[in-house]
Symmetry: C2
Subunit: 113 residues, 2 copies
């Protein structure tokens, strides 16, 4: 019998997060080296916490690719997500990431491209 998704969410499983304190430098640098992920991070930096749903980002990638980008951002300690009804909401973990890698996120947010 197929597994039924809960009616309240379009997401199959709850998001798994990595504590920024546990993130390696390599993971952080690779997460931020991708231009689509930098766009997501910059848009989140310009928004209120939890204001942006996953569907609200206008980036030129498929839904599956976007989902993978969100996973990489969670794994690198940059992103917290929570489900609210059918939407998955997002928060940039700016303070925690700053504590782990001082100056790195600000550097990225200041740069073009």
């Amino acid at each position: 019998m197929p597994i039924q998704e809960p009616a309240t969410s379009s997401h199959r499983t709850a998001p798994v997060h990595t504590d920024p304190a546990q993130v390696t430098l390599e993971s952080a640098l690779l997460a931020l080296a991708d231009p689509v992920r930098r766009t997501l991070v910059r848009e989140l930096a310009g928004a209120e916490d939890w204001a942006r749903s996953c569907g609200s980002f206008d980036v030129p990638v498929t839904k599956a690719t976007l989902s993978r980008h969100f996973a990489v951002l969670r794994e690198s300690g940059l992103l917290e997500q929570r489900d609210a009804g059918a939407k998955r909401l997002n928060r940039l973990r700016r303070a925690e990431f700053e504590e782990r890698f001082p100056g790195l996120l600000d550097l990225v947010l200041r740069q073009d491209g």
Copy 2:
């Protein structure tokens, strides 16, 4: 007829450099995301300019792979090289890279791993 290398150098061609001012954030982050390249950068940061030859680094990679790592470091504005006899000598472009990406190199040098 095979091309003869000059007797004074084991390197086929002169190294090509990228001005740190022209380096993209993506190139800088990807260069520093690799653990072998971070080892090279850290060792250079602890040495005098031009004190280290390419053969002096003890990293667990083949000569061809090491050569590629040096090329990536040149392309990302982190490394300057010059040939001196049979040796290729190295200098970390610390000040120029710092001007282009303030704080990034120091962050990497402060971190473990």
